[in-house]
């Protein structure tokens, strides 16, 4: 599949201007006041000499702004994300943050696809039925609710009122551990945030699948397939689904970015120590190196997710490989 290979290369090349764009944007905003130190000072009243020194080195303040940017970008490419104001090396701390965020995002995505796609198919095949109306109504409610607010409501009910589940954190810092072991403890902590994330994703995926499925079922090739005597299962799950799922995959890939970005509010609600929570804390305390580092990393992750989805799309749909 030579054309597929070309497509891959083109997609990766496209990533470069994106990274540049993000780096320029974030760099500029942090230098918006002229001297980023001004901003940092607003967040922390006093800085130790070593903090000051590390910040100056990070931002290369002794250079004019143009050179500052390239020096900073150069540092970043070499893995030097600077030193956080409060917690040591940024690059060292980012990896566990990523892991903790993905602990939530990836299972949520899988569950949402596993549950949402069949529901969407059902809804499309039984359009105008009561089931369809119920599903579409629930879905539109689902996308109208702020994700983190659902989390708050669940905390109120399941944590404070029923005491069934823990409200904050990814694990208990010290015994007693929920439900017996540290393993079950981790699971107990994950249930609420995971449920929220999954629910909201299911709402989006169901709507998408349904809309695409409806569109596909109207197509001539579905009619032709039926007219050839193919079984319902073949028509729906081979032809209709494959055609309907490709745009869903694109949206899922794109929305991985939003999911990841929706993490700040959700993780803050649950004090879930992932990228989002770290970002919010860093932004609140104006710990700029951390903020910049996280922004760049999230951008890279979103890019990676996009490229993977694009590849999957090109793999599924042969028409795309030509563009």
């Amino acid at each position: 599949m030579g054309s597929l290979g070309n497509y891959v290369i083109r997609r990766i090349l496209f990533a470069i201007p994106v990274i540049i764009a993000v780096s320029v944007i974030t760099f500029l905003i942090t230098n918006a006041a002229g001297n980023p130190l001004q901003i940092v000072k607003l967040g922390t009243k006093s800085m130790t000499a070593s903090q000051l020194a590390s910040l100056e080195a990070y931002f290369h303040l002794n250079q004019p702004i143009y050179i500052r940017y390239f020096l900073w970008l150069n540092d970043f490419i070499h893995g030097n994300l600077g030193v956080s104001l409060y917690s040591g090396s940024v690059s060292a701390r980012i990896v566990p943050w990523i892991g903790t965020t993905l602990e939530l995002q990836i299972p949520a995505l899988f569950l949402a696809l596993l549950i949402g796609v069949p529901i969407g198919i059902y809804s499309a095949r039984h359009q105008y039925s009561k089931g369809d109306y119920a599903i579409t109504s629930a879905a539109i409610f689902g996308i109208s609710m702020p994700t983190f607010w659902i989390g708050i409501m669940l905390i109120i009910v399941f944590s404070y009122y029923l005491h069934w589940l823990p409200a904050f954190g990814a694990i208990s810092a010290y015994p007693p551990y929920w439900w017996g072991s540290t393993f079950t403890d981790a699971i107990a902590h994950a249930i609420l945030p995971l449920s929220v994330l999954t629910f909201v994703s299911i709402a989006t995926i169901t709507r998408l699948t349904r809309v695409n499925m409806l569109e596909v079922l109207r197509q001539d090739y579905i009619l032709a397939a039926r007219a050839s005597g193919l079984s319902d299962r073949t028509v729906i799950y081979k032809h209709a689904l494959k055609n309907a799922i490709t745009p869903v995959l694109t949206i899922v890939g794109l929305s991985f970015g939003t999911l990841l970005a929706g993490a700040p509010a959700l993780e803050t609600t649950f004090s879930w120590p992932g990228l989002g929570f770290a970002f919010v804390n860093a932004a609140t305390s104006l710990d700029l190196p951390t903020v910049l580092g996280i922004t760049m990393i999230i951008t890279l992750m979103v890019l990676a997710a996009n490229i993977i989805t694009d590849l999957a799309y090109a793999f599924l749909d042969p028409r795309v490989r030509i563009t």
Partner: protein, 284 residues
């Protein structure tokens, strides 16, 4: 023609009703609200931290800080409406312009604009918005807080609009009758223009409604995280205040959230309903 379909579409009508109600409340609610925005009245009058439905003067309860929830929700409505609609207006203005240029002119300029649009699609928009909001908070004068949010959301919302505008213009350019009209004489450019405009407006109206919904949700996140304007009433701010005291005053988080769901639902239903009504259906 599409108007009739719209009227028959139940969810579209419900959406329109909700939006109408929301706009009404936002604009006139400030006159009905029993207390001025951000008023700590109850702190000094012994009615702080009241649960809801216990006192008719404070139907939805009060915060520990003395703020009346019902009153604040009314004030917040205006704030959220402002952010939602104004930001959308900016995005549409920018997006329409860029999309039209990219679609009509084509060529290298068009490719450049398309590329820019595509870059925005891949950015982690929320994170960048939060960053801008936080830093903007520090640099911008008090009182301009919400407008800052409006500008930021407006600037990051245009790509979808531009993309759809461009797509529609490209599609219409290809339609046979357009080419035929053109070959008949330049005097028909006015008809072309009208028709292109009409076709572009349909999906844009739908997108606008959905964009308002999205902007309100984003604003709520921004305010909840403390990156918004602490001096203007918004629902996100309320939810945050409720969250800080969630153990003791859960109602402060619940009711503003319900208001958000209600308003956003309205715009979503309206958008969906418009999409159905304006979409040419296949004739059986």
């Amino acid at each position: 023609m599409a108007w009739r379909r719209f009227r028959k579409n139940k969810s579209a009508l419900i959406g329109a009703a909700i939006v109408g109600f929301f706009v009404f409340i936002s604009v006139y609610g400030v006159f009905f609200a029993p207390y001025p925005p951000r008023s700590f009245y109850c702190l000094f009058n012994g009615c702080a931290n009241l649960p809801p439905f216990t006192n008719w003067a404070h139907p939805l309860g009060t915060e520990t800080s003395g703020i009346d929830v019902f009153s604040e929700i009314l004030h917040g409505a205006l704030g959220d409406l402002y952010v939602g609609v104004a930001a959308t207006a900016i995005s549409v203005a920018i997006g329409l312009l860029i999309g039209a240029l990219a679609g009509y002119k084509g060529g290298p300029a068009g490719a450049l604009l398309l590329g820019t649009t595509q870059i925005f699609f891949v950015l982690p928009v929320l994170v960048i918005i939060l960053l801008f909001a936080r830093i903007g908070q520090l640099l911008v004068a008090q009182g301009l807080g919400l407008t800052l949010i409006v500008v930021i959301l407006g600037i990051f919302g245009w790509p979808t609009i531009a993309f759809v505008t461009r797509g529609e213009i490209l599609r219409i350019k290809e339609l046979e009758f357009v080419q035929a009209a053109r070959s008949l004489g330049a005097s028909n450019t006015r008809i072309l223009f009208r028709h292109i405009l009409l076709n572009v407006l349909s999906p844009l109206i739908v997108l606008s409604s959905l964009l308002v919904a999205g902007n309100i949700l984003t604003e709520v996140v921004i305010s909840f995280l403390g990156f918004g304007d602490p001096n203007t009433s918004t629902w996100g701010l309320l939810i945050e205040e409720g969250f800080s005291y969630v153990r003791t005053s859960w109602w402060v988080a619940l009711f503003p959230g319900l208001a958000v769901v209600f308003a956003v639902l309205g715009f979503n239903l309206l958008g969906d309903g418009l999409a159905d009504a304006l979409n040419p259906r296949i004739r059986e």
